[in-house]
Amino acid sequence: MSTTGRQDIEAMIARVSLGDRKAFAALYSATSAKLFGVALRVLNDRAEAEECTQEVFIRIWDAAGRYQSNGLSPMTWLITIARNRAIDRLRTRKTRPGDLGEAAEVPSAGPGPEALAIAASDRERIVACMGTLPQDRAEAIRRVYLEGETYQELADRFSMPLNTIRTWLRRGLQKLRECLTE
């Protein structure tokens, strides 16, 4: 990814939306290790992460035409598809209900500074801001985003009543947002 910038990935997605198979192969080369890494982190099983990544790339091929209108940066769009697909699989495995839907369905925020490229400075900022949170709160956010844990699981893990855990996590998210928008 280090040599492939946001504009390169956007161009690949645009060409994929026109049915360009070479662009699809290039997009795969540029992003598959990242997306497979996300699937592996969530699912913690190589065979299942492989199947998940296959579904993700099929989804990318089918939905590339809708990328332009969703207002997300390209890596965010790709990672959201991979993360949501992996977590849907995880929850199916745990036989829990709940479909997270697709990133392609997240409507546009409109063009503007919110549509961030994933520059090193952005990565450093979110990591630094996570570091300003109480440790248990940061851990909970990671567990939810990267491991698909639910409020019930957080309540069990942190020995808190279910009706308290939501306020508790929201307070952490609020603090994270304040740090990120300072």
Binding site: R21, F36, L40, L72, G101, R170, L173
Partner: protein, 228 residues
């Protein structure tokens, strides 16, 4: 937040929970409706999507998926590329030495080919199909009417089957049948196939073979048919 145009605390919490996948089905549906009409909420959802994806980029190690995955995805999306992915295996004509040729004679004899009553032709072509890591090796002797195969190493995985394919020119792969558990087997060839320069390949399939008529699993071994 002092930003007067920003979302309220509840909007912030809901947007984050929406992206995190923490909402109930009803709450989620309400957010979907709100996203269509509330640009501030929409921007908040996009904000969280960007930030959390950035966290994933920062903290999740990239892991290269196995090489076979790309071929599998392209096969699922572009069935007409079958020929191309056989090629991607880097198949090169292999020279079969004297020992192998002796093996072919043995194979032909054991199948009743040489001097047999029904298949009078002696094999005029051969192919050797080997997995890159040597975990599956299949040797074939070929006439215009039939293919005799001998599995010299490896076999189907538990609960799976091995299917033999012939690919002539740019045509789609033609299934010749499933490899039996026995070491040797004889497959008849459809009429009118141009076998010289065609490929033989073995794919991993569900029991009973490919449900689609085209290879669905990994190609485990492949090799060109060459003149003896």
């Amino acid at each position: 937040m002092t930003d007067s145009t920003g979302p309220d605390d509840d909007g912030i919490g809901l947007a984050a929970e929406y992206v995190l996948g923490l909402l109930s089905t009803e709450e989620r549906a309400a957010c979907d409706t709100r996203l269509e009409t509330d640009p501030v909420f929409r921007a908040e959802v996009a904000f969280w999507a960007e930030q959390l994806a950035t966290l994933a980029v920062a903290e999740v190690q990239p892991v290269a998926p196995p090489a076979r995955l790309q071929a599998r995805i392209e096969r699922a999306l572009f069935p007409d590329m079958a020929r191309a992915w056989w090629r991607r295996l880097g198949i090169v004509p292999s020279f079969v030495g004297a020992a192998a040729a002796a093996g072919l004679v043995w194979l032909s004899l054991s199948l009743g080919w040489i001097g047999g009553p029904q298949v009078p032709a002696v094999p005029t072509y051969q192919a050797e199909l080997a997995a890159e890591d040597g975990s599956l090796v299949v040797r074939a002797s070929v006439t215009p009417e039939a293919v005799a195969v001998n599995v010299t190493a490896g076999g189907a995985r538990t609960g799976r089957a091995l299917e033999l394919w012939l690919i002539a020119g740019e045509a789609a792969p033609v299934s010749l049948g499933l490899l039996p558990e026995a070491e040797t087997a004889l497959f008849s060839l459809p009429e009118g196939l141009d076998i010289a320069g065609a490929l033989l390949a073995v794919s991993d399939e569900p029991p009973g073979g490919s449900p689609t008529g085209a290879p669905t699993g990994d190609v485990l071994a492949a090799g060109p048919i060459t003149a003896l």
